[in-house]
Amino acid sequence: MNGKQTAGIVATLLLFLVSTQAAADQAALSKKLVLEINEKVIPAYQAGKPLTMLKALSPLMARIPEDRVEAVDSLLAEHQAPTLGELLVDARVSLVQQGFAKDAPRAHYREVLLTSTAMKDRIETVLAEKEAHPALAADAETPESFEDYDDLFWKIHVLEQQLANMTRIGDYAQKMTTSTRVNRKRLTEKQLAVLDFDFGPLQQGLKSLGETLQARSTELRIERIRFAIDTIRKSDDFKQKLLAALIIDLDGNHLQKMENADEELVAQVKQTRKSFSRLVKKSRLLHSGLHWWMRGRYGRGPEGAGLLKSEQALRSPQALFGLYMPVTTPTPTDPSDRSARPIPEVDRRHHYIWLYEYRQIGDRKVETHSVSQSTRTLTSKTTMSRFY
């Protein structure tokens, strides 16, 4: 028997053993439980519906003691789903982040034990990022270009968002553990420790890190203003001077609103704006024009599959201005590439706008909903979470 044959036999044996073990594990679960997981939990997970999934799974926790968790994990693995703990944590965290935490079902104490530790771990992971974050690390490099500053501010923004999310998760986890209904005498010491965990110090850590980040962000803005003033005065590169003008304009406004702002720097900003007023004006026109263009290109309205603003837009400036915009700066895809999700969703608005019919013949209002065009049908959706 050669090496290949031996390896094959060993692999088959291992697979057999694993399958046998999995089957044995699942045999420990009741048929009803297995059915509910297969028919309600898995489909909701696969459809990306955390609330539906949680409503199906959370009540089942009463029937899943600690020694059955592995069996459930094995069943979930057959559907390429995460472990029980991860499913529950991800679903609850998702609802917290979307502001739907109050709609989530009340957690059984077994679920609390399983999930609160995972939530604590996630908060601690974010807090640990402080040491290596490029804006906060002890050996952080000084940015040398506007692009470097942009990159750094983006990373600060990402961490700020993470801190905000973790704060919400910490609040939620604390409420979950303190409101759990359980006979404490039935719990082990380890379980009691999890239930009694105080998220307060972690919340304080998050708040403190947020303040540190804010202070560092302000420092960087001031550094960037100085860099911009230097660039606009000395550089021969018009592009760099244009960027510098924009920074002086925007960050200069922030500077003037700051308490205890360096008066000398404020005076320098004013003087530079005056000396390079034409450049500042061009910078404003360029960036404002491009900003409006981005809204026209990537913005979605609340009606007409994103192509229309509401009727309120005809009466209200807020409704006229408001659009759903992508959270991250989009990169458009090639419309001829059908394998890619289209970005923006409509390659040309004029391909579709003619469809919207508000006129009628006769007294019956008939709405035309059919979509007929040469390029593609709109089947994809863009997730946007900011409306401004």
Partner: protein, 267 residues
């Protein structure tokens, strides 16, 4: 309605700011700004959307490594796209007589504007040729329960305005072949529009002869803009009367008292 279109306010403001910028900037400054815009992926505009040959080639290549040949970058393309979209909205939803001329660019983005305009005409024409919905409209006509003819008529208004603007010799030069093709396309579009207008008029006539006369103002108002535009164009000499192909009007109406005159509308 035009105010409700996403992009109308936005592209209007974008053009207003960027045109002011162009007027106040030197050639060197404009080139630098053009380069700045080129460096950002989000401002990429894809053209040749109607070019099937390009799409087939792209599919056969099956590679993502090379940058797409139809990916256009730069301030000129940004401005051109805004103008084409804005012109389309004006054409489709307002009575602006020459909507694309109203948003006509300066020399800075003229070539790009022309390319996107021509591409737009081709895309719409290809779509109309392959659209079973349009054929269905000619089979079933328009009625209180079927407004699709109005939507298609709006589309024809839009595309005809695009093709008219593309043929305007104050913009970038067209080759003789391009001019011939455009002329042929425009004539065909005029015919289809004439058929739709005739169908709408017949529908108006049909319902006017029933007891629903109390709705006559609504009927006229519903299609008044189209009919008024048509009269305007005929008076201005920018529209001509043609016979339409009888087979396009297969819907019979027993209550119709007279056959409406067939004419192509300039709008």
């Amino acid at each position: 309605m035009v105010q409700r279109l996403v992009g109308f306010l936005e592209y209007s403001n974008a053009i207003s700011e960027l045109e002011l910028l162009i007027k106040s900037s030197s050639k060197k400054e404009l080139e630098a700004m053009d380069e700045l815009v080129m460096e950002h992926d989000e401002y990429t505009v894809y053209s040749d959307l109607a070019d099937k040959k390009y799409r087939r080639q792209k599919e056969s290549e099956g590679t993502d490594d090379e940058p797409s040949k139809s990916a256009r970058r730069g301030l000129r393309w940004v401005i051109a796209l805004a103008r084409v979209e804005l012109g389309s909205m004006l054409a489709a939803f307002t009575n602006t007589p020459r909507p694309f001329e109203a948003v006509r660019p300066t020399k800075f983005a003229a070539e790009q504007f022309e390319e996107l305009l021509l591409d737009g005409v081709r895309a719409h024409v290809q779509a109309l040729e392959n659209d079973p919905g349009l054929k269905q409209v000619f089979r079933t006509g328009v009625s209180p329960t079927n407004n699709r003819g109005l939507s298609y008529s709006r589309r024809l208004v839009l595309v005809r305005a695009m093709s008219r603007a593309a043929m305007n010799d104050t913009l970038a030069e067209l080759t003789p072949q391009q001019e011939r093709n455009l002329g042929k396309t425009k004539r065909r579009l005029d015919e289809v529009q004439a058929g739709l207008i005739a169908m709408i008029q017949e529908s108006l006539g049909t319902y006017r002869t029933t007891s629903m006369t109390s709705y006559s103002d609504t009927f006229v108002g519903a299609c008044g803009s189209l009919l008024r535009a048509e009269s305007r164009e005929l008076e201005a000499g920018t529209a001509t009367r043609t016979r339409i192909n009888e087979t396009e009007r297969t819907r019979s109406s027993s209550s119709s008292t007279s056959r409406p005159r067939t004419r192509s509308a300039g709008r």
